[in-house]
């Protein structure tokens, strides 16, 4: 079931969503078995920013019907801390490493791209554009022009594959995807979490320390499917589809809608080895599936345009 993705040869199409699996902490909890039975065919690390971040004040989680809202706030050790402490450990994983990065300005993103471009341990970069550009006040990934300008700035800085992690909190996600493709992105990944909120039932005040958070889990799966399908009509570059994947059948749905790879996130919280099971189920389904050209398969079939 090996798949080719942006020049990387992967054992199967199931990877993790950024920020939903900490391979270093999991190694502490589960020992060598984690490495021997690593659940993903590539590992996407948690977002790295230039400066260290503590993350949002707790509480950070709220369970909802079919999912949860998180307000984590991208805690990380910063670029220098990541290079010193995390990268050497993550480089020992048995799968390619994709580093997710975020900057609060084009210059910050450029600095991160440059720094990781030099590191051979890094197979690809994923740009988290779900944050405001402090120079323009616009969410980088919410506006096609903003996304295009960012890619135009950082694309020349690296030969490594650049994946743009799209935000679903945008008016026209396919237009943003197209802008990323036009400016040289190698792939897009979606969906990130959807903005959501919960009130403390006892006080009526916002529950989460960050006031709002991101909704994930099976509750968002139909939205992910629709957005992946829409983006697949708009771009030619490969798509990493994710959002509420719990079973191989959910992964197959995203592939039928146009995804080349599938990300697993929240389901790993329920079962740390969920990726292994989902890849196995997907493999069985693909072996018995008539879908040859999975990309755009739905759109390609007359009478089944969505």
């Amino acid at each position: 079931m090996t798949v080719e993705f942006c020049g990387l040869e992967l054992e199967h199409p199931v990877i993790n969503g950024s920020g939903t699996f900490d391979a270093i902490a999991a190694r502490r909890a589960f020992g060598d078995e984690l490495v021997e039975r690593f659940p993903f065919s590539a590992f996407v690390s948690k977002t790295v920013t230039v400066e260290p971040r503590q993350g949002n004040p707790p509480p950070r989680l709220w369970e909802v019907a079919g999912g949860l809202i998180n307000s984590i706030g991208l805690p990380n050790k910063g670029l220098a801390g990541y290079l010193e402490h995390d990268l050497p450990e993550l480089a020992r994983l048995p799968v390619p490493l994709i580093v997710n990065i975020m900057g609060f300005s084009g210059d910050e993103v450029a600095r991160l791209v440059r720094a990781f471009s030099e590191r051979e341990e890094v197979s690809a970069l994923e740009l988290n554009v779900s944050c405001p550009n402090v120079e323009t006040g616009l969410t980088m990934g919410a506006d096609p022009g903003e996304t295009g300008r960012l890619l135009a700035k950082v694309r020349p800085l690296t030969a490594k594959p650049l994946i743009v992690k799209l935000t679903p909190n945008a008016t026209d996600v396919p237009a943003v995807a197209r802008a990323a493709e036009d400016a040289g992105a190698d792939a897009v990944s979606l969906i990130n979490t959807l903005r959501g909120m919960a009130l403390d039932p006892r006080t009526g005040c916002p529950w989460l320390g960050g006031i709002t958070g991101g909704v994930s889990g099976p509750a968002v799966r139909p939205i992910a499917l629709a957005q992946v399908h829409a983006v697949a009509q708009a771009v030619e570059i490969p798509i990493v589809g994710m959002g509420g994947v719990q079973r191989g059948a959910d992964a197959l749905d995203l592939m039928r809608a146009g995804a080349s790879l599938v990300g697993v996130g929240t389901e790993s919280f329920r079962d740390p080895a969920a990726g292994i099971r989902i890849a196995r189920e997907l493999k069985e389904l693909l072996a018995n599936s008539a879908v040859e050209d999975r990309r755009g398969a739905l759109a390609g079939q007359p009478g089944r345009e969505l």
């Binding site: 270093i24 902490a25 993350g55 989680l61």
Partner: protein, 264 residues
């Protein structure tokens, strides 16, 4: 010893009620023995994360109450959709669990002897710790009322306090703790687990008297193995994840034990 990677099935072999609490005894042939103070993530095998109510969705974290002969005992109080589902489980029903996780208690420093202080469902890790330290280890336990104080049978020979005075001292358990520490605080190391307000009071009482304390905390937790970053608590070194850096923390590293409730 590491936890096995992934979820595994465990069978409920007995269900006991103690007042407001349920003890589930589960046969876990696949796991290593836990250390005192470690915890597990529990999910009922059926009717969890789908179907009619759609909640519970995430597994729930429980410190192990007791472990012997491949049996794990968990103490559960019905306070939300997850704990309600777990309380419904009957012998032969299946659980899915991940664990043991987290760090656990460490023995008192050389010149000190242990004193257990806890309350409510938080008595669980103190029971297994008392099993390990020896039944003579003194325990001060606080409960809301007599119905909850029925859980005290799970700990050997505790001194009790209840909020409503129906059993033992009429007041909070930290009243008993203050008396004990004032009498012989320089000989003691405190092990605490209980609701946030109690733990914060224990932390302050111990800090005022420079008595070392190890506190087992609880916080909203989606995964239990460091993935979600949801369970952080504030320490002097910044936020730490309770699942991988706890759940037992040295009291003097905490800025506050007042962790927000979790709606189990």
């Amino acid at each position: 010893m590491s936890a096995p990677f992934g979820r595994r099935a465990a069978t409920v072999v007995a269900r006991e009620e103690h007042g407001a609490y349920v003890v589930l005894r589960c046969h876990d042939p696949g796991g290593p023995a836990p250390r005192s103070g470690q915890f597990y993530m529990l999910t009922a095998a059926d009717r969890w994360g789908g179907g009619e109510a759609e909640r519970p969705f995430l597994p729930r974290a429980f410190s192990v109450l007791r472990a012997r002969d491949r049996e794990l005992h968990f103490l559960i109080e019905d306070v939300g959709p997850g704990t309600r589902r777990l309380c419904e489980l009957q012998p032969d029903d299946q659980l899915l669990l991940v664990g043991p996780l987290g760090n656990g208690f460490v023995r008192p420093r050389e010149d000190r002897t242990p004193l257990l202080v806890g309350g409510g469902v938080g008595i669980a890790p103190l029971a297994i710790w008392q099993d390990e330290l020896g039944p003579e280890t003194p325990a001060l336990l606080g409960f809301r009322d007599a119905q909850h104080a029925a859980g005290a049978v799970l700990v050997h020979d505790p001194v009790l306090a209840t909020d409503d005075g129906t059993v033992g001292h009429h007041g909070v358990v930290t009243d008993l703790l203050e008396d004990e520490l004032d009498a012989r605080g320089d000989e003691l190391e405190v092990y605490g687990c209980g609701p946030p307000a109690m733990l914060e009071a224990v932390r302050l009482v111990c800090a005022e008297r420079s008595v070392p304390a190890q506190l087992a905390l609880e916080s909203g937790m989606a995964c239990g193995f460091g993935a979600c970053f949801g369970c952080v608590v504030p320490t002097v070194d910044g936020y730490v994840r309770l699942c991988v850096d706890g759940p037992v923390l040295d009291a003097h590293t905490l800025e506050s034990a007042l962790v927000a409730g979790v709606g189990h």
